[in-house]
Amino acid sequence: MSTLERDPRESMVQVLDEDGSVVGDVPDVGDDELVEMYHNMKLARHFDTRAVSLQRQGRMGTYPPLSGQEGAQVGSAMALAEGDWTIPSYREHAANLVRGMGLERTLRYWMGDERGNSPPEGVNVFTAAVPIASQIPHATGMAWADKLKHGGDPENAYICYFGDGATSEGDFHEGLNFAGVFDTPNVFFCNNNQWAISVPRERQTASETLAQKAVAYGFEGVRVDGMDPLAVYSVTSDALEKAKSPGEGERRPTLVEAVQYRYGAHTTADDPSVYRTDEEVERWKAKDPIPRLEAFLRNQGLLDDERVDAIEEAVEEEVAAAIEEAESTARPDPSTMFEHVFEEAPPDLAEQAEEFAAIREKYGDEAFLEE
């Protein structure tokens, strides 16, 4: 049976069933935080819908949608302590927003303004990495630096996100291998969304699961239902705790395989109808993380129609405000292109900056800008 046909509940941590009923141990999350989790997931879904629409309207460049992955992103990010670090791929808009990256920054990055990829000071999010798996060794190095700076007793944990395709790359192996050898405080969070653009998970590896790859690096691998935010929260919390204070004989790193599905295209430049069926998409949509958590919260008495409506309204306002802010931000001054290459521009580069300023002055920006 192929991975896609297999029941994803097989050997996976799960807290909520597909109808939202409790089938596992509910993690210790406060009521307000549970509602916030729901709010963040709704916010991410609405943001995603609007971002795709902005791209279609020509108001934004290529964009990688996240719908279907809200449970994995929000559930894991909410488990982090303030000082912990997130090392994202390019699809972690929801995880990043939980960590304090404003949605307007994410929009600006995909609108071609690199300032959007500069997390504000004090927000412990690393820059988005587009080359596949290349951020994994960075995460290991960051965690390793923490350990080295603090006499072997790291202060924070470092969660690195990547997809199933990334597990085929050398950097996945090298990053996890270093983490195992140097016992660094890392959580490697694989968003197994079944497809690396058009290539299915079975074409990435002959391994039965991705989590089992951890065995090769000498640490623990865990498989979790990535569309069950409470299960993801629970598994990530345990992994973060182990990263910072491992038990006797335990290694700090963990590889988490969050089994889930990317509902939309890989990016807005991709057409998934070429490589997968509607039936498959519908089957996975039945596992949608948002109604699952909503049903649970309604059963707990934490949500009712009125509160759901209020959240929906708030979410629409938040996204509209982020779009307004991103679109009303002036384009970056083109001279800043030269300002972030080195701390101090070498003479050649300074000369090129002057040349550029002179030609811009002479012809005006309208001569350069495409309309």
């Binding site: 990829n117 500069s118 820059t127 060794p137 190095g141 050398g170 090298e174 701390e343 003479p347």
Partner: protein
């Protein structure tokens, strides 16, 4: 330049001065650490890190798994968190598995993050040919790295410069690729101050003054260039030899200044001709000093062939005879 001119000096080989620079900076700054394959207990295959492991411990002189992308990629993460890693790749011919990390991240993180994250790291590798090494151990691919905006590329040619330039590289807030010409790791000795000093990155050095023709070179090719200049002096040709020391950013001012004086140039490097830095120097002279030009600019370089196995390498590498021919072509035009 030298901050402690009066201090005692030691007579060191180039590779010993690499070690001396690392030890001096590690002593001075706890954030500096060395990492790579065999750099620890073994002291590096060329002994560039000899004794450092004993002196500074395994947390600062780190033997890593054999994985170039892993070494460079984790160093990127460490540097982003404020450490000053000096990763070593055992031979520059093995840098390619880490090339993505070098060009996609090491060179670009400052730009990508609008300076929120910066990388004070130095990627070291022994480079170049002439030591009878096996396949893929002799490449001279500095043009790859010089072509990548966001990297500084340094290639020393003397023990004194090696320590001063490596010290500057470690203190530089931005990433530096430091290529060590292994042909001259032990070819000669030179006086090296015991204390710390800097040789600024981006400044060329005139190794021999002359008035008839300028020879522009760097690294291991500085010696055959000087040798050729001395030989030709006996024939009445007075060649100036300019050692670039840094190939990116290149000291265009020094290059142009020397050319304006002589009006003739011969550029020497062991890297292949096509796309090599000799083309860059030639173009600079066309842009900046065309009217001073008295003769076509000569390029004496390696050939456009994969670096040959060592039975043929003496024919591949420019030597004093080939440099002398290039100089004569420039002078006799």
């Amino acid at each position: 330049m030298s901050t402690q001119e009066s201090e005692a000096t030691q007579n060191l080989t180039l590779v010993q001065s690499v070690r001396d620079a690392l030890a001096t900076e590690m002593e001075r700054d706890d954030d500096v650490l060395v990492m790579g394959e065999d750099v620890g207990k073994n002291g590096g295959v060329f002994r560039a890190t000899e004794g450092l492991w004993k002196e500074f411990g395994e947390d600062r002189v780190i033997d890593t798994p054999l994985a170039e992308s892993g070494i460079i990629g984790t160093a990127v993460g460490m540097a982003a968190m404020g450490l000053k890693p000096v990763p070593e790749i055992q031979f520059s011919g093995f840098m390619y598995p880490g090339f993505d990390q070098i060009v996609s991240h090491m060179a670009r993180l400052r730009t990508r993050s609008r300076s929120r994250f910066t990388l004070p790291m130095v990627l070291r590798a022994p480079y170049g040919g002439g030591i009878r090494a096996p396949e893929h151990h002799s490449e001279s691919k500095e043009a790859f790295y010089a072509h990548e905006a966001g990297l500084k590329v340094v290639i020393p040619s003397t023990p004194y410069d090696t320590k001063g330039l490596l010290t500057s590289a470690i203190r530089d807030p931005d990433p530096v690729v430091f290529l060590e010409p292994k042909l001259i790791y032990r070819a000669f000795r030179g006086d090296v101050p015991e204390g710390d000093y800097e040789v600024p990155i981006g400044e060329a050095s005139v190794r021999r003054e002359g008035s008839d023709v300028s020879v522009f070179t760097y690294g291991a090719m500085t010696r055959p260039s000087l040798e050729a200049a001395e030989e030709l002096a006996e024939e009445g040709v007075d060649a100036e030899v300019v050692d670039l020391r840094t190939v990116s950013p290149m000291d265009r001012e020094a290059i142009v200044e020397s050319f304006k004086k002589t009006g003739r140039a011969c550029v020497v490097h062991e890297a292949p001709k096509t796309g090599g830095l000799a083309g860059e120097i030639t173009a600079t002279l066309q842009e900046e000093a065309l009217l001073y030009q008295e003769a076509p600019i000569q390029r004496v370089t390696g050939y456009d062939v994969p670096y040959p196995l060592y039975a043929m390498e003496d024919y591949y590498m420019p030597n004093a005879a080939r440099v002398a021919e290039g100089i004569k072509d420039a002078v006799e035009f």
